[in-house]
Symmetry: C2
Subunit: 218 residues, 2 copies
Amino acid sequence: MNHAQRLRLTIEDEIVNGVLRPGARLDEAQLAERFGVSRTPIREALLQLAMTGLIEVKPRRGAVVSMPDPARLLEMFETMAELEASCGRLAARRLTPEHGAELSAALEACRAAAEGGDLAEYYAENTVFHAVIYRASRNGFLCEQALALSRRLAPFRRLQLRVRNRVGQSFAEHAGIVEAILAGDEAETAARLRAHVLVQGDRFSDLILSLRRDSAAA
Amino acid sequence: MNHAQRLRLTIEDEIVNGVLRPGARLDEAQLAERFGVSRTPIREALLQLAMTGLIEVKPRRGAVVSMPDPARLLEMFETMAELEASCGRLAARRLTPEHGAELSAALEACRAAAEGGDLAEYYAENTVFHAVIYRASRNGFLCEQALALSRRLAPFRRLQLRVRNRVGQSFAEHAGIVEAILAGDEAETAARLRAHVLVQGDRFSDLILSLRRDSAAA
DNA sequence: TGCGCGCTCCTTGGATGCAATCAAGCCGTG
DNA sequence: CACGGCTTGATTGCATCCAAGGAGCGCGCA
């Protein structure tokens, strides 16, 4: 694969996984030195990331990891909720036995992680769970869109699970969602998924406070 | 604005407006000469367009305007239907008098174009009509996503209206959608919008045939 | 004559160098 | 002492140059 593509994936990973925080500056020369390449592939990678919305390039002022204001973040979460609801609705309509089994397995993994009390593990299994729903929509394109927005929101969702008792509540919602999908209830699935994702918007003041603290610490 | 940005917008426009057809090859040197710049900003523009999905760059083999296979195109239209349904649902819930007025005005413009029998004009007013619905969702991010996918599908939707009597039917559906939104009926709005967009998938064999003929002619 | 191998040329990918622009700091003046 | 303009420095943006990798073509061999 190309340098630019590998760099793009690497930088994207670092943003998604929280190594590079929202607001962090991305200096071309610095990145070039770090990866041992010239500025050209760095520039190409940054431009591509800018198109996905993960970073922003201000003309003549370089690139920074996107830090949407709270209002926009809320819009993004709402859009995520709509995408997930669509995936879930289609999954409920078209569920194959294979996807049903995957879904149940992912739910069990969430249960195990929740009972284990390991936040990082629950976060990972939660991600898998949602990805299974995307795939179960049996619409590859929609699945890609949902994954893309999910990655874009990852830096912010990461802060959500710390809210008190959120893990237990989240798992309960997961269980309800699976139940609705297995029952083939499209409307119920969509409604539950919407609510599940939007909770993160309801708890919004917490998130804003976390962001403020993070950027103050940086 | 930058050269790369202007080039991106220009090339994007040419793809959306059918000047550059799906499958067309995008030669860097050729484009560079045509726009009187070096290959660097051309490369940057092409990479950005690749991230939006409008074009595909194959390593060492250059860029071509994306030509999704029929199955993927169907997935894309289905996703578009879901996005539009979401926009419509939110619009029905949150409609302001201003957006209501815009919606009625856009509907009237569609009526005029439909009665005038001008396909190009109806196509334009149709685009405006849908854009008004996106905006009426009062979610700027969702609106952007819908517009982006809409542009990406434009090269293919363009072929749809030629289907016999489609304009009249399309307008009737528009009227029904506006009615549902003004009534604040979320579920009805979503259902009607889904059906409206998916008609383009139902007529799919026509589209495939058009594509085959076009690529044979090219 | 048909098939396979190798060569050459064309295209892309990356590096480097140069120019333009913006930001910040400094000096002068009111 | 404060404010404004200028200058300088750093950084981006573009052009040019070089290398590497395929694809197509021709030649040779069976």
